[in-house]
């Protein structure tokens, strides 16, 4: 079949909301975009374990320690589903990890910010997971089948994490003056980076047009960001805290919250590697991978020996 016929059939499927499956024909660019996006998403889960993992040893109660451990472990699980989904497109996990370590592949910039106090565990759950969910709920309907199905599982756990994060902050907001201050400080530090998670403004987003046509994405960066602001601006009232934006106010005409300008210079600096923790995060991942090499080699060697023994028997 001619290539343009294949492409027409492919686009027809997308338009009819039929999922694209691993064995189906797909344009190279569609495959590449999905590999890029899914692996980036997987890397974000894995690198995202680090800022929260920081606080496992220091969690202020046994209950919080257990909840935090389970949460960070869930993120490892999400990473696994996503690597598996990307593998269906013909990319090996080793290759993806190598791309992360060499800097060819990206991960969400939010994880280049430091976790400085216990309240950050709450702010990350509420704001960072909250922002991620906006994107992820949309992705449960993405056109590539394995990705969409992975997202369904992930979304269930993420919304649980967001509630847990909010609950961490709620307890702090009802606590001592020092706890309240810690809570407000964490919100102040995570609010703007959370807004940046939705990516550049629509007018400046390079990957968006094709992604919308192929229904990899279904909502624009700005639409999702607005949806998030509207949600958080209401929820913050329950905490008796404020968002660090003097221009934030409800607009009766648009029925949305207006908000101030994001510091796009900071956004691009962090993307380019100049965030507070870019070097530490990548170094931690590389160290784990390098120091784990002999372990993986031992497991492979042992499995081969066992296979040999079974053959001989």
């Amino acid at each position: 079949m001619e290539n343009h016929n294949l492409e027409t059939r492919f686009q027809n499927k997308i338009d009819q909301e039929i999922k694209i499956e691993p064995r189906d024909w797909m344009p190279d660019a569609y495959r590449k975009t999905n590999i890029r996006q899914i692996s980036q998403h997987a890397h974000s889960e894995i690198v995202g374990m680090l800022p929260e993992g920081n606080w496992i040893s220091r969690a202020p109660s046994l209950k919080r320690k257990a909840i935090l451990l389970a949460k960070v472990q869930d993120e490892a699980g999400h990473g696994l589903y996503l690597y598996a989904a990307a593998e269906t497109l013909g990319q090996s996990r080793e290759q993806m990890i190598e791309d992360l370590h060499s800097g060819r592949a990206k991960y969400s910039s939010i994880f280049n910010y430091p976790t400085l106090t216990w309240a950050d565990m709450g702010a990350i759950g509420w704001l960072v997971d909250g922002a991620a969910i906006m994107n992820q709920v949309m992705l449960t309907r993405t056109s590539y089948g394995p990705y969409a199905r992975a997202m369904v599982r992930i979304c269930k756990e993420e919304s649980f994490h967001q509630r847990q994060g909010f609950e961490v902050l709620l307890v702090l907001s009802k606590g001592s003056e020092a706890q309240k201050a810690m809570c407000q400080d964490a919100i102040n530090r995570w609010w703007w980076p959370a807004l940046m998670m939705f990516g550049p403004r629509d007018s400046e987003s390079t990957n968006s047009d094709m992604s919308m046509k192929w229904k990899i994405k279904r909502k624009s960066n700005d639409e999702l960001r607005q949806q998030f602001v509207d949600m958080i601006a209401e929820q913050v009232k329950l905490l008796n805290m404020t968002l660090p934006d003097a221009q934030l106010r409800y607009n009766e005409n648009t029925k949305h919250y207006d908000f101030g300008e994001i510091n796009w210079d900071e956004f691009w600096q962090v993307v380019k590697g100049n965030g507070p923790c870019n070097k530490e995060r990548l170094a931690a991942r590389k160290k784990a991978w390098e120091e784990g090499r002999w372990v993986r080699e031992a497991a492979t060697a042992y499995a081969a020996k066992q296979k040999q023994k079974q053959k001989a028997a």
Binding site: I56, P60, L69, V171, G292, W294, R296, A299
Partner: protein, 248 residues
């Protein structure tokens, strides 16, 4: 006196599982491969869960509004009763695996006695924990085989880990006063443990080590620890102690 011994035994069980959980928790996000990162975190979660059950029971026995967090966060180095093995540093994956193996195999023997012991709460916690412990034994035992019979390097590292950790296993089989009072039969634990470890070491192509030929450190069970514990507690307890009397 029985009640004091029961509290002490319960705290020994709680402290040992918490301290090992605290150590293992440092692997979360840093494991050699994603699947094993998840597995060791699972074990960590089980250990913290067991610790919580024991602390809650100890708090109930102590009374006066005592809580699990008071016991975990407001006691000092000399009050912690965990066995020394659990506070030994993570080292490499071989050391972490071997420490887990030694402890899980020990727990399997000890908890079988608690299960059949006189105290119904300890028995119930042991029953629930034994299901977890049996998985921990299988998982860590499989890793001992993989490392022992894997590559030359992994074999060498596991031997080094054995050399590092072996001097800390003897303590497990010397009864603390509260264990004697609570009729824990450490001789039987020792027998069951050594038989199982011998079998495992043989399968893993490691030379068997004798329990009597090595010098053994002691003291953890009665609150005399290695230097390692102080740092671990300082990190674990600092938020609670910086903000006394707060809810989290």
């Amino acid at each position: 006196m029985t009640n004091a011994s029961l509290v002490d035994l319960t705290l020994y069980l709680a402290d040992s599982t918490l301290v090992l959980g605290q150590r293992n928790g440092d692997w979360c996000g840093h494991g050699p491969v994603l699947e094993q990162d998840i597995a060791i975190t699972n074990i960590t979660l089980d250990l913290i869960g067991q610790a919580r059950s024991f602390y809650q029971y100890a708090a109930q026995l102590i009374g006066n509004g005592c809580t699990e967090d008071q016991l975990a966060y407001w006691r000092n180095e000399r009050e912690f009763k965990n066995c020394l093995l659990c506070e030994r540093p993570n080292g490499d994956w071989a050391q972490t695996i071997l420490r887990q193996t030694f402890f899980s195999f020990y727990q399997r023997e000890l908890f079988a006695q608690l299960l059949n012991g006189n105290d119904s709460t300890l028995s119930a916690i042991a029953e629930k924990s034994l299901k977890e412990i049996s998985y921990h034994c299988r998982w860590s035992g499989e890793w001992v085989c993989r490392l022992g019979d894997g590559t030359e390097e992994s074999h060498r590292r596991l031997e080094a880990a054995t050399e590092n950790l072996w001097p800390y296993v003897g303590e497990l089989f010397i009864a603390a006063p509260y264990e004697t009072a609570m009729q824990i039969d450490t001789a039987a634990i020792k027998k069951g443990w050594s038989d199982a470890i011998d079998t495992l070491f043989t399968e893993a192509t490691l030379s068997p080590v004798s329990l009597s030929s090595t010098f053994m450190h002691t003291g953890g069970k009665t609150g005399q620890h290695t230097e390692a514990l102080g740092y671990l507690l300082a990190e674990m307890q600092y938020v609670q102690r910086s903000f006394p009397g707060c809810e989290w």
